[in-house]
Symmetry: C2
Subunit: 296 residues, 2 copies
């Protein structure tokens, strides 16, 4: 059987044909239409139809950055894709495609992907953190994707770590996302006197030995470590898998994160919880969405 | 059917006969022997035997402050009761009493009590926070007591909220417990110029209108609110139940906690998650332990 997995990002849509084992058979990428729902739906149906020209598709899974209610199946809000608002994407697409369609928060989809086909295969308790424009998180607890009472669980990006810290887009101050994300990294670099305006630029300077760039990764990694220690102490996990765009620079981040975990997490809980890099890398979301469609 | 529930604290042991519905039929309290395991076991078997003189007992449940491994059933460590160390209290007592005996972390037992017979009856997702000498936490997720991979879950007392904050007994700095606990309250009062050395004393001054005492509760309540907002954003719960000795002063703490939750938690998640006082009060642990023995 084959499934289509679609990862809708604020900039690009990444879609693939994924087989029963989680292997990607065909892949394409296209820009995201963020302000016209009809055009966005058209893009999605065209992608699936094109795939159907080559292979038989059983079902479609979609990962979306936003809050999806498990009660109504509506995407309530998707800050980076404003045309998706109180929308039942599953019903709309299913009607047009005449295929089963499921939708899920993108970080949850990524967690599911790493769990069934990536770095956390066979475990019962894991967290997947995805560091990019924001800090996303999906949880697998007691052997099942954990969505919480209404589907909103996993927002570690908006767990507080500095009550009087940096202002966050969510309205609070001092959320982890203000520290552990591309914009958070850039803000730290600026505080340390750098003028770089991309996480990639800071990384390139760090590997050349630039002191401020190295310090930027050390500070950000420290906060990543605190987020991991918090998850370990609260949820007693077996693995934390770190992915997302910023993880090109994972070696620098993970080094200082590990120090912080040793300092702050209970030793018997930390001992059983390695912090590892994503195996599925930037395909985690689409593979997870396809596997959710498989297991619907 | 009747069960014995025992809540072993660092100072006192509280034990009761609890019926099938969670109602306490008989209650007694005795000092905890913390440094002699034989004397402690003798105290526990005497309590149960005395109860058996009046009524038939089906099973015994024990709540203990410490780390209990779900894999080995050992209490690995109990910092306030040093004679309990790598000990299978269940096996030892069961052999002596010739009754089924279960043990559980005390905050987990309290959460279970509030869930089956208290403020969170009928819910699927809840947290129980107990504020006393420390800050304990038990979780019910997806309709079951959540213990994590090895039984250590729920340590929100050692979730970090101020990376460079007060030193914590666990070795880290800035854990919630350094703020939300009786010692945390006293430390805040001292910083605000007070000389009181008990949470109760600070509370008595606050209700008389003392400015520093009121500010102490406001600051502590603020951190309690951040802990609640973090739980809401990460776990998308239906209720947070607050109990423990310090909750005699709950009115003052909960007021400023509520402001902080409004400021920091996602509105759709916070809307469905009331923060309420414990219904079982100081009996939550023993009732929960008895109900865990019932449902063993």
């Amino acid at each position: 059987m084959n499934y289509v997995g679609i990862d809708i990002g604020g900039t690009n849509i990444k879609a693939g044909v994924v087989d029963d084992t989680g292997a990607v058979r065909d892949l394409r990428r296209t820009p995201t239409v963020i302000d016209d729902i009809d055009k966005l739906l058209k893009t999605l149906t065209t992608i699936v139809s094109d795939f159907q020209g080559h292979t038989s598709i059983e079902a479609v899974g979609i990962g979306i950055p936003g809050l999806r209610s498990t009660k109504t199946h509506l995407i309530e809000t998707s800050p980076n894709i404003p045309c998706i608002h109180n929308l039942n994407l599953e019903a709309l697409l299913s009607k047009q495609l005449k295929l089963p369609v499921i939708s899920e928060n993108d970080a949850n989809a990524g967690a599911y992907g790493e769990w069934v086909a990536g770095a956390a295969r066979g475990l019962q308790y894991m967290a997947y953190l995805t560091i990019g424009t924001g800090l996303g998180c999906g949880l697998v607890l007691s052997g099942a994707l954990y969505r919480g009472a209404s589907g909103y669980a996993g927002e570690i990006g908006h767990v507080n770590v500095e009550p009087d810290g940096r202002p966050c887009a969510c309205g609070s101050t001092g959320c982890f996302e203000t520290r552990v994300s591309a914009p958070g990294l850039i803000a730290t670099a600026r505080e340390l006197g750098m003028t770089e305006s991309s996480a990639e630029g800071i990384y390139n300077m760090a590997i050349q030995g630039d002191t401020a760039a190295l310090a930027t990764f050390e500070v950000s990694g420290r906060f990543l470590g605190i987020a991991c220690a918090n998850l370990i102490n609260l949820l007693n996990l077996e693995s934390i898998v770190i992915g997302g765009g910023v993880m090109a620079s994972s070696d620098l981040l993970l080094r200082s994160a590990a120090d912080e975990v040793r300092r702050r997490a209970f030793e018997p809980a930390a001992r059983i919880c390695p912090i590892v890099q994503s195996q599925l890398r930037t395909d985690a979301g689409l593979i997870g969405a396809a596997m959710l469609a498989r297991d619907r």
